[in-house]
């Protein structure tokens, strides 16, 4: 059993406190995320997903409560060094990460993170190359300016920039936004591969199909609070709760539920089209078998 990678206790966060514009983005969050799993974080726009993840990466200082990542624990009074420690364990790929590229070449940009961690030029270069290779980024483009790449390639460089710091935990904020179906598929395969290599993955997403297909655990936020924490199966099984949080089940699940309403007996909620087809076939075969 892997020990919990992240533990969040009584966490609250207020933007611009003590001003007329103070805004409580998170209140009283309690969560545990297991190591080497894929956790999906979902919720309506403005529910606090990005805020929570920035706290986990030590980019914001909690107003209340604590966050423990591995052996590091931070509270509102922790020192700057503690928050920096947090950042060493956690890698954060922001939404549209390609818009943060700045260096003159791909390799320089990927080396930026490792160099900031205090690595030598050589070690940083080695790390950068390793990260790019893992993303199967073409070797002949290493010296190219990152601004002369296609959208999909730019996104890979940006992700490599985070991977090169070798974090144990990787947070991805809507990594597939703006990509065409092919690009989306490739990126999710990459995420799956990183997970298999032993990384703990946290995936912020609006795509329920991705949740159903890839996540071990789902955390649903609603108005800055945890509205659900459990398996995708549990979440999608309870329609009334889903509605209350303002979410819609993936198409396969909705389809199966409608079939059930029509009297077709489906035993297991399908999490993807394959499972749905199988369920339908089971029912059909059962019926034809019965008919004989």
């Amino acid at each position: 059993m892997v020990e919990p990678a992240i533990k969040i206790e009584d966490l609250s966060y207020i933007y611009s406190p003590e001003t007329a514009f103070a805004y409580q983005a998170l209140s009283n969050i309690n969560l545990t995320i297991q190591g080497e799993t894929i956790t999906a974080v979902i919720g309506h726009t403005g529910s606090g997903k990005s805020t929570l993840m920035q706290l986990v990466d030590g980019l914001l200082i909690p107003t209340n409560g604590s966050i423990t990542v591995g052996k590091v624990k931070v509270t509102p009074n922790s020192s700057k060094e503690d928050f920096a420690q947090l950042r060493n364990h956690v890698g954060f790929v922001f939404q549209f990460p390609e818009s943060q590229l700045f260096a003159d070449s791909v390799i320089q940009d990927v080396m930026f993170g490792p160099l900031n961690l205090g690595m030598s030029e050589n070690a940083a270069r080695r790390n950068a190359k390793e990260a790019l290779e893992r993303l199967s980024f073409p070797t002949n483009l290493y010296e190219r300016s990152p601004f002369e790449l296609s959208g999909g390639q730019m996104r890979r460089v940006a992700i490599a920039g985070v991977l090169a710091m070798d974090p144990k935990i990787l947070i991805l904020d809507e990594p597939t936004a703006g990509l065409d179906p092919n690009g989306r598929k490739e990126l999710m395969q990459l995420v799956q591969q990183l997970h298999e290599e032993g990384k703990t993955i946290i995936l912020i997403t609006h795509q329920m199909e991705q949740v159903a297909e890839y996540a071990d655990q789902v955390v649903a936020l609603s108005h800055g609070q945890v509205a659900f924490n459990g398996s995708p199966h549990e979440l999608f099984d309870d329609q009334s709760r889903l509605q209350k949080i303002g979410l819609v089940a993936p198409q396969t699940v909705r389809f199966a539920q409608k079939l059930q309403e029509q009297g077709v007996h489906i035993t297991k909620l399908p999490m993807n089209v394959d499972e749905l087809a199988e369920e339908i076939i089971k029912v059909k075969k059962g019926m034809t078998g019965y008919g004989k």
Binding site: L179, D180, G183, L259, Q262, V273, A277, I280
Partner: protein
């Protein structure tokens, strides 16, 4: 009857050595919804911009509602076509919602006393009237996109072009916008040209055009194109949900009807078996 006719159009961006569009001929039927689909970089946006004279046509001819699209008729063409873009942030010009809707009216020199009514009406059509005084920073992406739609509705165009206008929204907001468009098409008789790389969005429309590397690969009724799995897979487009299901069932030896079925029809068919 086609309200937009594109005849033999090619286009090469200045400084580029390959044509982005290559001898395109296609037409968009009046009061129908046509979706252009194709992978990233296939030339969809370029085609849409040519139709609205946002870039000048270099070869071929485009006719919009009887008016030739050229430098001389830019004003007319812009009057007939309303254009909504992908990024809700980068088309919100006004400092408040009502100012943004007013922007187009100001450009078309609509007198001030007529503006108020038209702004109100347009905001009402997209259910944003109560947000008239809000600033863009106080709106969600979906709300901004509604304001963009109101901005063009106030100009009373005949044709609406949506260049991936929902791709940056969350699924709920996306669904709402598609519902809104369906309503507008039926109630006001707009011709809609939508661009998407997601075939799931094409199911809302009447016709589909497939673009690949600057060429038209297929065009026709939505139901015909989306059920043609060979075609869709050849251009790496992915299938809409019900078609995916049909394909899987067929592979497992359960054949389903050849015609296109939406979710409801599919459920009907399955439960009647």
């Amino acid at each position: 009857m086609a309200i937009v006719e594109v005849k033999g159009v090619s286009y090469t961006y200045p400084g580029s050595n390959e044509p982005t569009l290559n001898d395109i001929t296609v037409s968009f039927p009046t009061k129908e919804w046509t979706t252009i689909i194709g992978h990233n970089g296939s030339g969809k946006s370029t085609l849409a911009r040519l139709i609205d004279e946002l870039i000048p046509t270099s070869a071929g001819e485009i006719i919009v509602d009887g008016v030739p699209v050229d430098a001389e008729h830019v004003g007319d063409v812009h009057q007939k076509i309303g254009f909504v873009f992908q990024n809700p942030e980068n088309q919100f010009v006004g400092t408040t919602v009502e100012d943004d809707v007013a922007f187009g009216l100001e450009n078309h020199q609509v007198p001030r006393d007529k503006m108020q009514f038209r702004i109100k009406q347009a905001l009402n059509d997209v259910n944003m009237l109560e947000f008239a005084k809000k600033e863009p920073a106080q709106l969600s992406g979906g709300q901004k996109q509604r304001v963009a739609i109101a901005g063009i509705l106030s100009l009373r165009p005949k044709i609406l072009i949506f260049d991936e206008a929902t791709s940056m929204l969350d699924p709920q907001a996306r669904l709402n916008i598609i519902q809104l468009l369906k309503k507008l098409k039926v109630e006001k008789g707009f011709t809609i040209i939508a661009i998407s790389h997601d075939p799931a969005e094409a199911v809302a429309g009447d016709n589909v055009v497939i673009l690949d590397h600057g060429k038209i690969m297929a065009s026709g009724k939505t139901t015909d194109i989306l059920t043609n799995h060979d075609l869709m897979n050849r251009y790496n487009l992915g299938l809409p949900f019900t078609e995916q299901l049909k394909a899987k069932l067929k592979a497992k030896g359960i054949p389903s009807p050849e015609v296109y079925l939406d979710e409801e029809q599919m459920i009907q068919w399955l439960s009647q078996q």
